[in-house]
Symmetry: C2
Subunit: 558 residues, 2 copies
């Protein structure tokens, strides 16, 4: 069996390695346009920052062997043609036409099975001045070398990152650590569109606390400069800079597939079935060039990630070798380090869930990630998105200095299994004080969702409260924390009655006004609402997530 | 509705708090024999070590309010009778007879619903000298104060911990941190029976590296001393000591339940249904006094844990208030910090799975917990236990300095959902270099299990290899790592042929002998086996987990 693989970064080498393990006699050839093979693209921001010191580490196996052509030949029995571009697939003759990048020589290669692992390419917006020097993307080792050179030779200091998505945020941290002054320019009203607004805003504030300027709802209109870029022009301001990182997204590389007449999905990625087979059963595709299925909505999506590429590569290889295997889809699980914050999410966001027709219930639940008495316990704010009809969990987001990825990974498994919040609330997760509260954050949040669904607690989101304030609605905004907590930080125009004193202060509460209670995380706010209801106050709501999740201005003790 | 709750540590207060939230008009009384209420028993080892500095922190809410009788009355509307012992339940009259611990006065209290949250008590072995001073258990705040006093006043230095279970191990770390010389005496052949032997042995070695003496298969026969304990006598040796911590397990407190004629389960715990109802529908029970159901085997089990107590308390309260809720059972999920190691497990161990009749396939998979090129990536050894017939995951254990609990929590969700290893292998878990490898450790381990089940890789456990060596079997024990790795650490009587040179060294390999390959983690070992098979060697096996999981003597470079 002759297998030809096009693309040598993540999915391609995975397919080849797995085929060799299943079918040692297969004749596998891998074609890669670039010089480097099988490097960890996700590690590039850490190479730029110096956290990873040597380029070779990104191209090595865990025991330090560089994955070059010789390695693949000797260890994986795979022929590697690098600096070789596949330019045409002839499906009738079952051959690939390829061209040496250096000599421009053309050659043909026959296949029984072909694998497209052509990846994705950064989107370059068609803006004036885009060809100026020192405008980088972050796709290849060459890109990261370019940025490192700019930092070193040009002593570049002022950087504009265009696009506040994952790569933009990772690059922000990397460049701040190199001593740069960074401005993020984002066209949308928020950074990190993988998060709902109120959590993205927590990250925004953390970035600003680290000295990063974040400019949302701002569109780049041009780049100015003589030879090198000198400023970024936007619809709102002009920002002087030494260099620019473009991270406005990637698009799947599908030209070969399209030219060969293979079906392309609605998201622009190559359409594949669960076996990772394209519309031609002898051609498979995997990694950043393919369209996936969202496991919750069953709708097509395009979420290119190294983790997905590896899994898809393995599934493709299994099916090529006659072992039945399926890749069902993705949840868009993502994690990202942002200075001292961990940011993670899986499943559907609130907006996405509403758009998909679910009867959405959400909860904001801030809590320490360990037993609260254990030193080093750190805050995470969890947001759960669930469906009232089926009671199934649809999505989880987590932001904060605490251990966010653990809760989101557990949630990803639960969403895959279509678990209800009732089952999640009684999951047997590991507990010991150095690792989690006795009721894990995910379990507590699931219980709050259940309370909401069952009408045990009437909640209002911070965004709804802010709207009321802005509209000038007449209501009592009741803070039930202690005076000491209030002094450290509070929200303007709130009334302070500590929970322990509420029973004896009921006369101060107007019976016929709307009352919105909160505390640090809104557990005491919830208990306050119960006391008020028992005392005959009818219109009481608890503000979701308390002051910790309040994403607007706070009065902080100086 | 009059609700009486007996027991004020974990499950009891949870029941009371939840009832108040659901049904503010309920009349709730909580009876507690001790002085202290609602304290975090799991935090006691950290209070002894000084990691948690103030006793009050263990009795406080996350915002620092001490949960005393006044707190429960004011905030939870719950009447608390502490230093009050329930001595009899009269089910016909629906009343509890109780006695003040100080005055010995008796009183009766009527109930509509009764909740038994009587907890568990440390087992005290009936051994000569057990009444000597300075023999402690670790159940209550008073116990930990006793230990702290012994440390302070007696300047105690030499400690014997009897029982190498969770509490014994946590206390070991606490006391070593206080400067003590600790010896653990364990009756069984291994410490931490929640783990399979080869992983428990990794923890054993780590303890010894920290200066702890571990004496397994050793039974205590007496304590010697005049007033205070001066030595522990065992069947093998006598160990001088300044004090002793007894941690040989706990037994459920069921005397009240038994005397009242309630059904007791086979494990000795109070038998309850999924609503946490005892054999009397008006009496509920929750926490350390009840028997649970193992979610994998559906057999009864007794696994007292604070996390379970909280969940069961909530379920009991919901059902008391007419909200349908069920507690299905537990997986025995556990996590424990042992110096620099994280130890976690869920589901069935290998032995337990075999005994329960599953067709067991296991895998040892050591790997870094983050992208291998990311600084601070640390090793974890995962063991997966799965069923060949259903392909379902049955249990997971993880040991090492890396992030173990995250993988075990995800596995706990997967086991609850009865997921197959095939589904687990394609889970969309969060990936970024600071958090996990591109293929998460759990996913890689699931893929190795699949390879085993599908006959793609023939494996042999380190224990089976050791048996072969001890029997004097004739086989080639082939290390395919690099000479540099070999020099640092190797196993005796192995042959070294680095993987990259194997194709050219096939003449050195006898074709008709059994060959057992391995490397650091046995991925290269697996590739070596493929090369050998392709070269016509028929009897090749890969040693599970490589040298990292080899739990026997190794030759280390001095």
């Amino acid at each position: 069996m002759k297998v030809v693989i096009i693309g040598g970064v993540a999915a391609g080498p995975k397919v080849g390695s797995r085929i060799y393990r299943l079918c040692a006699e297969a004749d596998v050839t891998l074609i890669e346009k670039g010089k480097f093979l099988s490097y960890a693209g996700c590690g590039l921001p850490y190479y730029v920052s110096g956290v990873v010191s040597d380029q070779k580490e990104l191209m090595s196996t865990p025991i330090g062997v560089v994955r070059d052509s010789v390695f693949f030949q000797n260890v994986k029995n795979m022929k590697v043609l690098n600096r070789t571009e596949a330019i045409k697939v002839d499906r009738e003759k079952k051959l690939v036409v390829m061209k040496k990048v250096d000599s421009q020589e053309q050659e043909e290669i026959i296949y029984d099975k072909l694998v497209l692992a052509t990846g994705a390419t950064p989107i370059i917006p068609p803006v004036d001045g885009i060809k100026l020097k020192n405008i980088f993307t972050l796709q290849s080792l060459e890109d990261s070398e370019g940025i490192k050179t700019a930092l070193l030779e040009d002593k570049a200091n002022d950087v504009v990152i265009i696009g506040g998505g994952l790569i933009g945020i990772e690059m922000t941290e990397a460049l701040v650590e190199k001593g740069c002054r960074v401005t993020i320019v984002e066209r949308l009203p928020q950074i990190l569109p993988i998060l709902d607004w109120e959590l993205a805003y927590q990250v925004n504030q953390h970035l600003e606390a680290k000295g990063v300027k974040v400019r949302t709802s701002t569109t780049v209109t041009a780049f100015r400069g003589k030879d090198k870029v000198e400023s970024v022009v936007t619809d709102k301001m002009e920002i002087p800079c030494d260099f620019v990182v473009l991270s406005v997204g990637v698009k799947p590389n599908v030209i070969l597939a399209k030219d060969a007449g293979l079906e392309i999905g609605v998201t622009g990625g190559v359409k594949v079935n669960q076996k990772m087979q394209t519309s031609d059963p002898d051609i498979f595709a995997a990694g950043d060039c393919v369209e996936s299925i969202n496991l919750v909505t069953h709708e097509p999506c395009f979420i290119p990630l190294g983790s997905t590429a590896n899994k898809q590569g393995r599934v493709a290889a299994n099916n090529i070798c006659g072992i039945k295997d399926i890749f069902s889809g993705v949840l868009g699980s993502t994690v990202c380090k942002v200075f001292d914050f961990n940011v993670a999410r899986t499943g559907l966001g609130e907006h996405q869930a509403c758009k998909s027709g679910f009867d959405v219930v959400t909860v904001l639940s801030p809590a320490p990630d360990k037993a609260h008495f254990y030193p080093g316990a750190k805050l995470i704010i969890l947001k759960l998105i669930a469906d009232k009809n089926t009671r199934q969990l649809l999505g989880v987001q987590a932001v904060g200095p605490g251990d966010a990825d653990k809760r989101v990974d557990a949630a990803a498994v639960a969403i895959t299994a279509k678990m209800t919040v009732d089952v999640i609330a009684n999951l047997d997760l590991c507990y010991a004080p150095p690792y989690s509260p006795a009721m894990d954050n995910l379990i507590t949040a699931a219980n709050i969702v259940r309370n909401r669904m069952d009408g045990i607690c009437t909640a209002i989101t911070p965004m709804q409260v802010k709207e009321k304030i802005d509209r000038g609605d007449d209501f009592v905004f009741l803070d039930v924390r202690s005076p000491g907590e209030y002094e450290i930080v509070h929200i303007e125009n709130t009334v302070l009655i500590p929970l322990g004193k509420l029973r004896n202060s009921l006369s101060e509460i107007p019976q016929n006004k709307e009352i919105i209670t909160f505390c640090k995380i809104s557990l005491r706010g919830y208990e306050a609402a119960l006391i008020l209801k028992a005392a005959g106050v009818t219109n009481v709501k608890v503000m979701d997530g308390g002051i910790l999740a309040w994403p607007y201005a706070k009065q902080v003790k100086k």
